[in-house]
Symmetry: C2
Subunit: 633 residues, 2 copies
């Protein structure tokens, strides 16, 4: 097959590809990260490019406007390269700049209090820098260098086995004598083992940082934290670049089987490095002072992080390679922090209940609470955990990324310019953006609000279809019915901000999957929502979701509001707990032992429940009718 050259503008990057390659793949080959969430199925319509020179096969996508088509726009994922091309990539197609979730840092200030509540949680970060002002050897005390250091470290940390690498030991005589026996030891912990992973000249103990990461299928959230005290310095998030290979974990696994795990691992590591670099740069922290990365995520993401084979997770009997990997040196997977820094991957439970869930259980502490708790973690997969001190049952439902602002035409991450709130004021639909700037799209909470508002105002019916003539916002755009919330003239990027019927369908599908899963899981336990004493809602959007909107679309049941606790991103919170408290890290073993996985695929009635939930708020409208239940009767 012949090769063609594709030149990308404004990057001025050219790549040679085989005839028949898609433009999207060509851009990937040119190392240009572009917005694409549907995995190349031509559905999300985000990978728009403009053909400047050369011909392409005729294939017109409904995702493009007539005007765009006239101007040479194509969807990169649907466009095959058949001859040499010059292609322009418009700014909105390029992967969004990774924007700080400034608010996340604020949100996690409460974390300090939360952690200190449990008195058994003694501050014991997973990496510790210890300043050692050692005695110089004398004839009466000529203990060997390594033992001198180890004994001093032991005095600080208590007993337990100590490890030390050969290079560190070899360098000890020079570093001790060159610094008058004043050095700083970086110690990494794992259960009973302490590794003296680095020895630095002088006192650097004041500068010790960790990165805590929630690796979501759609969204990656990274927090920069101080290892010396409970303090979140900053947070950043980005979409997971693996999105180019599909929005669901299954399509990622299939891609890994075709392209090799390393290909998907690279994208993830590159995202993580980008977040870390960004956090370090803004806060003027030297990468070498970051000594640990603590990650939580679903099991497939945890596998990609370490480059572990994923193929058997999606095949019966769904066996992961590891759910409790030991810590490795971060550099072993290409993460750029201190070259001797450690990478901890929090232990998960099974192929479909990952460390994001054990982290969630840690963060909500439901194994220490009276009564029955239910934790629903809303992400690309919705995970539900029900349990108490004695037992925990978990299940997982594929929801899709709509509630994270993906798989929705104008969906974006919860970043500056995202509509995070939609409400009715003076009988008109109003909205609020993050940062109070002109809107660029909806984040998850905005989407839930908008669907709720449209339904409550009777603009859409119970199946999410637009009812004509009721509101001037309902328009026809590019051949599909949409509700136009923001005209392009008022938006932040010059494009309309709207929601389409298929967007609404994605939202309904997501909420139905999650609601049905909760119902089935409770039913198996001979319980109803009324038996739940603590109802935790977790997810990347966490604190922003409007509870009444969520109830009115049927995402969560109409229960006593006092029972509902917004737990935020419990994956990051739990990982942070594990990073700060070794006791918390070790507690995961307890959580694993108590947790049973319930496979919804084996539930005959799940599909039926799901179908019932495919209405707003539900076929069984009684479930959501009546006054708001402010107090349980």
């Amino acid at each position: 097959m012949a090769d063609c050259t594709v030149s990308f503008q404004p990057h001025n990057k050219a790549v040679t590809v085989r005839k028949g390659t898609t433009l999207l793949e060509a851009a990937l080959k040119a190392n240009i990260t572009i917005n694409n969430l549907c995995g190349g199925d031509g559905i999300c319509g985000r990978c728009k490019m403009i053909i400047k020179k050369g011909n392409i096969p005729e294939e017109v996508s409904g995702k493009l406007t007539r005007e765009e088509i006239t101007r040479g726009y194509v969807l990169a994922c649907l466009t095959q390269v058949m001859e040499n091309l010059v292609v322009e990539i418009p700014p909105e197609t390029l992967a969004r700049e990774k924007i700080v979730d400034d608010e996340d840092a604020d949100r996690f200030k409460e974390f300090g209090q939360l952690a200190q509540a449990g008195d058994e949680f003694v501050f014991s970060p997973i990496v510790k820098k210890i300043y050692l002002d050692l005695d110089s050897p004398t004839l009466d005390n000529n203990t060997a260098d390594q033992q001198r250091v180890c004994e001093a470290v032991h005095r600080e940390i208590g007993s337990g086995a100590t490890q030390m690498g050969l290079k560190i030991i070899r360098n000890l005589p020079a570093i001790l004598r060159g610094n008058n026996y004043k050095v700083t030891a970086t110690v990494g912990f794992r259960r009973d083992i302490a590794e003296i992973m680095n020895i630095e000249p002088g006192n650097t103990a004041g500068k010790n940082y960790m990165i805590v990461i929630d690796i979501g299928t759609t969204t990656i959230v990274a927090h920069l934290v101080d290892a010396n005290r409970i303090r979140t310095i900053a947070a950043k998030a980005c979409f997971n670049s693996q999105g180019i290979y599909g929005s669901e974990v299954t399509s990622r696994i299939i891609s890994a089987e075709k392209r090799g795990i390393v290909e998907l691992q690279k994208l993830l590591i590159s995202d993580i490095n980008g977040l870390i670099r960004g956090l370090a740069k803004e806060d003027r922290i030297n990468l070498k002072d970051i000594t640990a990365v603590v990650c939580a995520g679903n099991t497939v993401m945890s596998h990609f992080l370490l480059g572990l084979p994923t193929r058997y997770i999606r095949r019966k009997p769904y066996t992961p390679t590891s759910v409790d990997p030991p810590p490795f040196r971060a550099v072993e997977v290409g993460i750029q922090i201190n070259p001797r820094g450690l990478l901890y991957s929090l232990p998960g439970i099974s192929g479909w209940v990952g460390s994001d869930i054990t982290a969630g259980i840690l963060a909500t502490n439901i194994i220490d609470r009276d009564g029955i708790s239910l934790l629903v973690d809303i992400g690309t997969n919705g995970e539900i955990i029900v349990g108490n001190r004695e037992w925990l049952v978990a299940c997982s439902a594929s929801a899709g990324p709509a509630l994270e602002g993906a798989n929705v035409t104008c969906g974006i991450r919860a970043e500056t310019g995202a509509i995070e709130k939609v409400y009715i004021k003076n009988r008109k639909i109003q909205y609020k953006t993050i940062g109070f700037v002109p809107p660029k799209g909806f984040c998850g909470s905005g989407i839930i609000d908008l669907v709720s508002v449209l339904f409550n105002m009777g603009i859409i019916d119970r199946r999410g279809r637009f009812l004509d003539g009721l509101d001037e916002g309902v328009q026809e755009l590019n051949g599909q019915k949409v509700y136009l919330l923001v005209d392009r003239k008022k938006s932040g990027h010059g494009n309309h901000v709207f929601i389409s019927e298929s967007d609404i369908e994605n939202v309904i599908t997501a909420k139905a999957a999650i609601f049905a899963a909760m119902k089935i899981l409770l039913a198996r336990l001979d319980m109803s929502f009324d038996d739940v004493s603590h109802f935790y809602i977790a997810g990347a959007f966490g604190n922003h979701i409007d509870i009444e909107s969520a109830i009115s679309i049927g995402l969560i049941p109409n229960i006593d509001r006092n029972k509902i606790i917004f737990a935020g991103n419990t994956s990051v919170k739990g990982a942070k707990l594990a990073a700060y408290f070794q006791h918390a890290f070790n507690r995961v073993a307890q959580i694993r032992a108590k947790t049973t996985y319930y496979d919804l695929m084996g539930a005959d009635d799940y599909v039926e429940e799901f179908r019932k939930a495919m209405f707003l708020p539900h076929t069984d409208i009684e479930l959501f009718k009546g006054e708001k239940v402010w107090q349980k009767a």
Copy 2:
């Protein structure tokens, strides 16, 4: 400075060196290992070479015969290269082939019984291969691969933290599924930590071997042992090739400061690899089935093994880099066994009391015995330990390698052809060689015997000088007085086998250093030899030494023979104990805590005691006079 080319025959190897380089250094650069024990001081006379082409500066060594000088012989260490040369290396100058100490294997058969005596010593080798016939995953049991393996291993080994490398984990899905879940795990232990260091297809548990090594300054002894049961398969020994840089640890340290530690490490590792290869080849054992190397040695040798800086050991306050390094992968220092095999270096006590001594204390078990024990380990350094259940005091005296068959003109290792016994029969001096072949030189026990015999027959005086005309064996050879034991016509290599006055002086110096050390150490403890209940003699020659010869030259005191125990090479025995019994390995911590080091250099009276002992058997002849003490009075 100009360069010259030196071509070595019969190797046909040429090297380019700077003008002024010695021939010895040139040979080293050409990677030709030659006999040299004095470290290039022109003393040992072993580095003879023949100049075939080219001129050399005039410098004639007394170590060469007139005939040799006529034939073009030179000492390589004293000969500077000033122009291009062609040089022949005679066979006797080349480093001796490493010959098996077949007898060592026999000697260690008793080890099994010894170890089994202590009932707390449960067989628990430091590396273990465990065959795992795992259940295939099912929907009811879809435990992750790593956890499946770890749990099965834990069932076999009990609790404790488990480690596993990233590469091993990545390869698990393929190796488990490719072998029907039947695999063999190799587990390495260190205190409470177990590392699953390898997973092999099928059942290979039957093939698991360890190498146990005593790294002496002069001699390296390696034993190949079965990790599945207490069985020494074979033993080999060689001279330490670092001898080229001097016979004492101090000169090695100085060389390391000049040439870099790596240079000396390389020689040691190359010797070790040679021994391992030889052992494996003869016993048809695959190197990959050797999963651990356990080493004991003096602290300087242990440092060279790992490439740790040695410079501060010889400077006040004599601080080593490490006396208790963790295990590393053997490949990290270049030892060729299984690529994931571990290298254990037994813990020592201080710069001058190494793991050969902790091993000796382990092997003799003096911390568990009633009464006072004295252990003297006769090597290039003579170490003495006195103690009981409560305390141990150790000291170290520089003896030189004479008693190991080095620093003696015709001294060789205890190998086939070595005169190991000299005795009087029918009023004539007789000898016996190892292997009953024509003699090639003396090993340590033969030298002690010969000096004893010469003294007892009045052929030498109390200062070790030949008394003329008393025996026809006393002759003048190459300008020095010698006792000719074997004429070249009867020897195994066509050269005379003799002992010179300076050889005898080396022997007297060695025994004097050791005897004085014992006396001083006991004096400091307000004790005499009579207070010692168990007198252990250890060393590479161990079982072969004749006790009466040793007493008659004043190496050991004239005490109750029932108290004397030949313990053999306790360094290897102790290391083997540690290899087979984790409890024994851990016991070294106890030994360290109980042991005090006494520095003879700080003893004002040591030099005086040493001088007194520089006579045969001693100035205080009363100490060694009278009937043999068969029973303590």
